[in-house]
Amino acid sequence: MRRALRAADVGTVLLKGGPARLPDDVPPRFKPGDLVVARNINPTGHTRLPRYARGRRGVVDRDHGVFVFADASAMGRGKKPQHLYSVRFGARELWGPQAAARDVVYIDLWDDHLDPG
């Protein structure tokens, strides 16, 4: 265990933060423009894949790079470094034909959340 945080260190500690980005050289499974499907997973543990996106089709908009995989990290299973993507989902894909045709939702999802579309 680290020692107790001291008042004098608060500023430095906050400025340093707790970056989740990792330097690991892990190949991405997807690239911007790829069609993907969010996996239909229903773990009892922690996941950052919201229910409303599971099984839905999207397009990879951006590869954010390699990050700690939150789903694993929360359960004490280590950092499991992998690529994190910004995935764009059409509003109608998520909510049906009543949704606005033009609107989209971007969700940050990891390699382990996605399958090729």
Binding site: G17, R48, F67, A70, L84, A100, D108
Partner: protein
């Protein structure tokens, strides 16, 4: 919202919540795990030092300096750090540009993720069930309720902050602010406009500071 659970009037017994906070704090301090002066410093930082004025500075700079704007959109973390804003809950920043054709809006449906270094701690409504549930489902309805009407030909993009990447909206600069200084512009950029639930308004004639 009822606050009977969580605070007491002067002279009356402490609430269960207050007692529990005191129990945890006193135990942690006694065991040397937590330093009370550090607690005060943490509180002071987020109550008085870090807040939306930081983000307003970023936005105003982008409005007056096209090269800064380009850097901001290219690498949000780096450009925001140029102004000294960085660290906890803002280590990886993406800046989303609002245009006449695109309106961006940020939410964290799963909890309350929010870009602390540029906006401070999130307001209660951002962390609450109504916004978290409806922002992704009916953004136009939410925006309308909050006073923003988005035309049909504008694309609404809702960003659900499911990772440690944090999002800051770069709102459109309002008409009527031509020739304003950066300092004057900082004064009109609101927190809500940087979350994407409001537009920046130029104050009526005479309101310029």
């Amino acid at each position: 919202m009822s606050d009977e659970h969580d605070h007491a009037e002067e002279g009356s017994p402490l609430t269960e919540t207050e007692l529990r906070v005191r129990a945890l704090e006193s135990l942690l301090v006694e065991k040397g795990l937590v330093d009370p002066a550090a607690l005060d410093a943490l509180i002071d930082t987020y109550e008085t030092k870090v807040g939306p004025r930081n983000g307003a500075h970023v936005v105003a700079r982008a409005w007056v300096d096209p090269a800064y704007r380009a850097r901001l959109l290219e690498d949000g973390s780096k450009a925001i750090a140029e102004l000294g804003y960085m660290g906890r809950q803002g280590e990886d920043m993406m800046v989303l540009e609002n245009t006449p054709k695109v309106h961006n809006m940020v939410v964290c449906t799963l909890c309350s993720c929010y870009p602390w270094p540029v906006l401070g701690l999130p307001p209660v409504w951002y962390k609450s069930a109504p916004y978290r549930s409806r922002a992704v489902l009916d953004p136009r309805g939410v925006l309308r309720e909050l006073g923003v009407e988005v035309p049909e030909d504008v694309e609404v993009r809702v960003w659900d902050s499911t990772s440690e990447v944090r999002y800051l909206v770069l709102p459109e600069r309002p008409a009527g602010t031509e020739g304003w200084s950066e300092a004057e512009l900082v004064g009109i950029v609101t927190r809500d406009s940087m979350i994407g639930v409001a537009k920046v308004q130029a104050p009526a004639r005479g309101g310029r500071r």
